[in-house]
């Protein structure tokens, strides 16, 4: 399989200036040097607690948020250097699905308008042809063609999410960035939408960057996974390996904290000590060291380097 998306050293800092008369500027290191790559047709998961920067990564890859540093290559092309037409063409090949199905559709536009507009803008189809394609897309995501003339408020959250997926597909993308695509949905609906996404992945050979805080969902959907903590990836590897035997203490804590279907299979839960530090003021050395049960002096001194073990890797001195 060839590499489709290659992200290296991605950085995004947000600065906030507050206070009068002596303004204080704080820098939030939302994304602080993130590298990963996604192969064609592969589902790549990004997991972590809220605030760890995973959604920022998703947006920075598409340049919905302008990254401060690093490179993003899509199918060999430099996304950060692209301007105007080139950028529009690149963006067409990677699309995004949002968490909130209520705000992701314009309340004043019919589903038909929402689906045909991208085709017209990119000159893919127009008029009757665009409408037929829209109907076919709706069918592909399990919605009737009658939905075309209706407005978003007439649909449930799950249906809207399907429509949002159909809209992303209008421009025939090769990569879908799914930002918590099922977190806002009821559990029963979550499964349906996940099945739809997997179905699309197989049928269209779509690659996914799947951002989620729900380890169960990632375990089921993704091939490989990266665990993020305070703006950095702390562990990466295949889903099976990472979740079966996490290398990084944080990944282990995260795994153990997620619900297990069979309560009898759960061992004694390790305690997570302390609060999540703020990304505006991360601890020196390894960001996780104040909460880590295996902390050593070296962890306080410097951020640990990336250590590989076969196909996997982690940023921890224990590896």
């Amino acid at each position: 399989m060839t590499t489709l998306l290659d992200v290296a050293g991605l950085v995004k800092h947000f600065t906030v200036t507050k206070g009068f008369p002596r303004p204080v500027t704080t820098t939030v290191r939302a994304v602080d040097g993130v590298s990963f790559s996604v192969r064609r047709g592969e589902a790549y998961g990004l997991v972590g607690e809220s605030g760890c920067g995973k959604s920022t990564v998703a947006r920075a890859v598409l340049r919905l948020i302008e990254p401060d540093d690093g490179t993003v290559r899509f199918d060999g092309a430099d996304v950060r250097a692209a301007r105007g037409e080139t950028l529009a063409r690149l963006r067409r090949r990677m699309q995004i699905i949002f968490q909130d199905p209520y705000s992701s559709l314009n309340p004043r536009r019919t589903i038909g308008q929402a689906l045909t507009e991208p085709m017209r803008v990119h000159g893919l189809a127009s008029g009757r042809a665009a409408r037929d394609r829209a109907a076919a897309l709706l069918d592909e995501v399990g919605m009737p063609p009658s939905a075309l003339d209706r407005y978003p408020h007439e649909f449930s959250g799950g249906q809207r999410q399907r429509i949002g997926i159909a809209r992303a597909l209008t421009v025939e993308p090769e990569l879908l960035i799914a930002d918590e695509p099922v977190s806002a949905l009821d559990v029963s609906v979550q499964a349906q939408v996940l099945l739809l996404l997997r179905d699309l992945q197989k049928r269209r050979n779509l690659a996914f960057v799947f951002v989620s805080h729900d380890l169960g969902v990632v375990r089921w959907f993704c091939d490989r996974v990266a665990v993020m903590y305070l703006g950095r990836i702390v562990e990466e590897g295949s889903v099976g390996e990472v979740f079966a035997e996490p290398l990084h203490p944080y990944a282990r804590v995260l795994r153990d904290a997620s619900p297990v279907p069979d309560p009898s299979g759960r061992g004694a839960l390790p305690r997570i000590v302390g609060e999540i530090p703020s990304a505006a003021n991360p601890p020196a050395g390894c960001h996780f060291h104040p909460r880590c049960p295996h902390v050593r002096d070296a962890c306080r001194a410097a951020y640990p380097g990336w250590r590989r073990r076969g196909e996997r890797g982690a940023a921890c001195v224990l590896v």
């Binding site: 995004i96 314009n106 309340p107 992303a168």
Partner: protein, 288 residues
């Protein structure tokens, strides 16, 4: 979040129902239509020429030939009121339309771009806003010279800042919505996102304020004409007629009453409509 999205379209019908259920709004609309019709049909409805002088019938009280009497030059007051409505409506409609377009565009673009640019633009708007609009209008007309176009410029100028504020606030909220991000991801231009996707979502709020500011514009136009800075005589304007009537108040005390009532009726009607519209579209009131 979800409630805001749910109420976005279906409430159009609910808003219309609420709007009609409020009798003041209905009366306001009817009054507005009557005033507009009387101004449009002034050439047909007027019993006399509004600027034709009749020295013999000077300052005559209401009678069969002159239902509302005549002024100092013997001109028919009813005809002048009918024609004067045209000036009021033309000036305030054009001024507010211009203010909506210019102010609305400033507010939308400023809110959409955000950051320091937005800060600066809004500071400028605050400065414009803090100046008493009548004084601002007064000075602008005085410096440019009183005519129809300058009147529109002066009144429009005083309304730009409020519309910039009104248009900006919802844009700040809307640009954070995922459908705007989706649009960018789909390769839409900023202009398309702003004018095709965001604009329809803020239109109702802007138009509601439009009718309230129409009322203010009518009042300002009448005030400027009353001070003597309106469209030049002999063209009839309501404010100018008030001024004429006021000058002859000892000889013909009824003279200022009719144009005064005309101004009051139109301003009141516009306020009633604006008020009703605001109540019908205000999400806060709906939540109660």
């Amino acid at each position: 979040m979800s409630t805001a999205a749910v109420v976005a379209v279906s409430p159009v019908r609910r808003a219309v129902a609420r709007f009609l259920a409020n009798p003041t709004t209905g009366i306001g609309i009817i009054l507005c239509i009557l005033v507009a019709l009387s101004a449009i049909l002034a050439p047909i409805l007027s019993p006399h020429d509004p600027i034709e002088q009749d020295v013999i019938a000077q300052l005559s009280p209401p009678s069969a030939t002159h239902p509302l009497g005549t002024d100092y030059f013997g001109r028919d007051v009813l005809s002048r009121i009918l024609w004067g409505g045209r000036i009021s409506l033309i000036v305030s409609l054009t001024a507010i339309a211009a203010a909506i377009v210019i102010g609305g565009a400033i507010g939308m673009v400023s809110g959409y771009i955000g950051g320091r640019f937005d800060n600066f633009v809004m500071r400028v708007m605050d400065v414009l806003l803090s100046f008493p609009s009548l004084i601002l209008g007064l000075i602008v007309v005085a410096l440019l010279g009183p005519d129809l176009v300058n009147l529109v410029v002066a009144i429009g100028l005083t309304a730009i800042a409020p519309f910039a504020r009104i248009a900006r606030a919802p844009v700040l909220a809307l640009k954070e919505r995922a459908f705007v991000e989706a649009g960018r991801a789909l390769g839409y231009s900023h202009a398309r996102i702003l004018f095709v996707h965001i604009l329809p979502n803020i239109l109702s709020e802007v138009l509601v304020m439009g009718s309230l500011w129409m009322a203010t514009a009518v009042r300002t136009e009448a005030s400027l004409s009353f001070i003597g800075l309106g469209v030049k005589p002999p063209t009839p304007t309501w404010g100018g007629m008030m001024r004429d009537g006021f000058e002859n108040i000892l000889d013909a005390p009824w003279l200022p009453i009719f144009p005064g009532v005309a101004i009051l009726l139109l301003v009141l009607a516009l306020n009633m409509v604006g008020d009703g519209l605001r109540d019908a579209t205000d999400p806060k009131l709906r939540a109660e």
